[in-house]
Amino acid sequence: MTAPLLKVRDLNVRIPTPGGVLHAVRGVNFDLMPGEMLGLVGESGSGKSVTLRSLIRLHRPPIQMTGTVEYGGKNLLDSSESKLRDVRGGRISMIFQEPMSALNPVLTVGEQIGENLREHKGLRGKAAQDRAAELLDLTGIPSPRARLADYPHQFSGGMRQRAMIAIALASEPQLLLADEPTTALDVTIQDQILRLLLRLREEMHMSVILVTHDLGVVAQTCDRVAVMYGGRLVETAGVNDLFHAPKHAYTLGLMRSLPGAGEHRRPLQPIPGGPPDLRSLPPGCPFAPRCEYVTDDCRVGEPPLLEVAPGRFSACVHYSELPALKSTPEEVGV
């Protein structure tokens, strides 16, 4: 068996707020294999984006990150700023949800690719220009050479996302972190961008961690899924296994709130209530207050993430009682 590309152990992120410390990520562990595409799924406020950003130590003080993020034998959370910079943006790149706010409005797209090429590939001048045009072409932007001189606001939404992907790929990373890359786009463009990501993963032999709140997106693209709730991972599984039979009541709830999932069409069932307040969590399973399977056992202590079947982990007391949905990723995919 090959060694994991990235090993995350006991990752914790604490965000001080006026109303108390927000424990946004609480002891997250996972491995990522080379070439794997992992979906990190959860509602807004579940800590999935905060987790993603801490993988390259993007949070700034006073936000605290503890634990280890092991990449290439080093812990990125305590390596020096200059070592970290080689990895960050070099071996591991990241794309953001809103290309309009993530791209600097006063620099041309060419300049924004160029600074990446200079930093990580040592390319300047003509060589950098050529490579930048190649990258735009690779991400499917028509007449790439001419568009290098354009500013972000001159691109359409989908093209802007492609440009951001081109910038992120300039360093030919081993791992791409994608933070809700399609949420801001309309459905047809969303589909194009996902296909682009899949194609680029093949062509560039990358691993991808895709953060999304949309199980449909996961179904269409990912190999494995990690479900987050209340700052913790509550279930991880291969994508087929997950859609066939979720092993956490929360995952089940998520699936039931999707249209067209399961063997029979039935009315959508949204999960009642809202995400927990991470500043003051009750003891026990954080999902318990919203869970239809809840019993007193759920409130005793927070259930740990345990291997419940080969390659499947769940933090649900009642995992064995949950019905199989027998759906497939293809049914849910967009």
Partner: protein, 312 residues
């Protein structure tokens, strides 16, 4: 940036300036009583007043007078100073360069103080460094310009003798030397106005997502600061400078008076005490023209620096 845009903006100034002329004309004709009698003072006999009125065209209807006024303006004639017996336009030509030198000098000093300090305060926001910078400039904002001028003049000029206490000098180097204290006075005032807004807009840039994206690209801090933050801060600075041109000119009027600098600001104050209405009228028009041109220039520079501005 397109030439048509520049042209359109220039054309917009014409109606505005026409209104400025109406306003200034009305203002001067609001002088209570008979202006000629006021001007001539004791020498005013009914005979002389009537003759002067006829000479100045003051016996004609107001509308006709306004027509004559505009016609003269279009021919570059702003009238003649009553006290100095010099055409107002020539006076402006002699004095304006001094004021321009002073204000540009002050703007350079002010920006040189404000931008680094605003950046420091923004980077170290909510620490004691930030608190001290903000407190100092909050007090600075409340320091009257004439008071700062007087104290600097006394301390660094008269007592320590480091700088001359007035005048303008003969060449560029002397201008720099003579105008240092006045420019410092004005520059401190300007910096106080700039620092606070600039700090907030730099914080906005620092917390913008594109800075996080730049960090995610692995760029070093210095590159992010210069390419991503400073450039945006510069745009904010230009806009702020343009908006505050009025305050800068007002400050120049006071500073020139305190330091006895032969610029248009001091000329204005002298003209007011000498009741030299043609000079007051000409200078008021000139100041309005300068401000509207600076507003225009600000818009154009802004459009050059910020590609998004072109759209509007």
């Amino acid at each position: 940036m397109h030439t048509s845009y520049v042209l359109r903006r220039l054309l917009q100034i014409i109606p505005l300036f026409l209104a400025v002329m109406v306003l200034v004309f009305t203002l001067v004709h609001l002088i209570p009583g008979d202006p000629v009698s006021t001007l001539l003072g004791d020498r005013a006999t009914p005979d002389i007043v009537a003759r002067a009125n006829k000479e100045l065209g003051l016996d004609k209807p107001l509308l006709v007078q306004f027509g004559l006024f505009v016609n003269q303006l279009l021919h570059g004639n702003l009238g003649e100073s009553i006290n100095l017996k010099i055409p107002v336009l020539r006076l402006i030509g002699e004095r304006l360069p001094v004021t321009l030198f002073l204000t540009v000098y002050a703007a350079v000093l002010g920006v040189a103080m404000a931008v680094p300090l605003a950046m420091l305060a923004a980077v170290r926001r909510n620490t004691w460094v930030d608190a001290v910078i903000r407190a100092v400039f909050q007090v600075g904002l409340s320091l009257p310009v004439f008071y700062v001028a007087l104290q600097l003049l006394t301390l660094l000029g008269a007592r320590l003798g480091w700088f001359p206490i007035g005048g303008y000098g003969e060449n560029f180097g002397e201008h720099l030397f003579h105008l240092f204290l006045p420019a410092l006075t004005l520059g401190l005032n300007l910096a106080a106005i700039l620092v606070r807004t600039l700090r907030n807009s730099i914080i906005e840039v620092l917390t913008a997502e594109y800075v996080d994206f730049a960090r995610a690209k692995g760029l070093r801090g210095s590159v992010i600061m210069t390419r991503h933050v400073l450039r945006n801060a510069l745009i904010a600075t230009v806009t702020l400078l343009g908006l505050n041109i009025g305050a800068l000119i007002g400050g120049a009027v006071i500073t020139e008076t305190v330091f006895a600098i032969p610029g248009v600001g001091r000329l204005m104050v002298d003209a007011i005490f000498g009741r030299d209405y043609p000079v007051i009228q000409g200078l008021t028009l000139m100041f309005a023209l300068i401000v509207s041109l600076v507003f225009l220039a600000t818009d154009l520079i802004h459009a050059r620096l910020d590609p998004r501005a072109e759209l509007s």
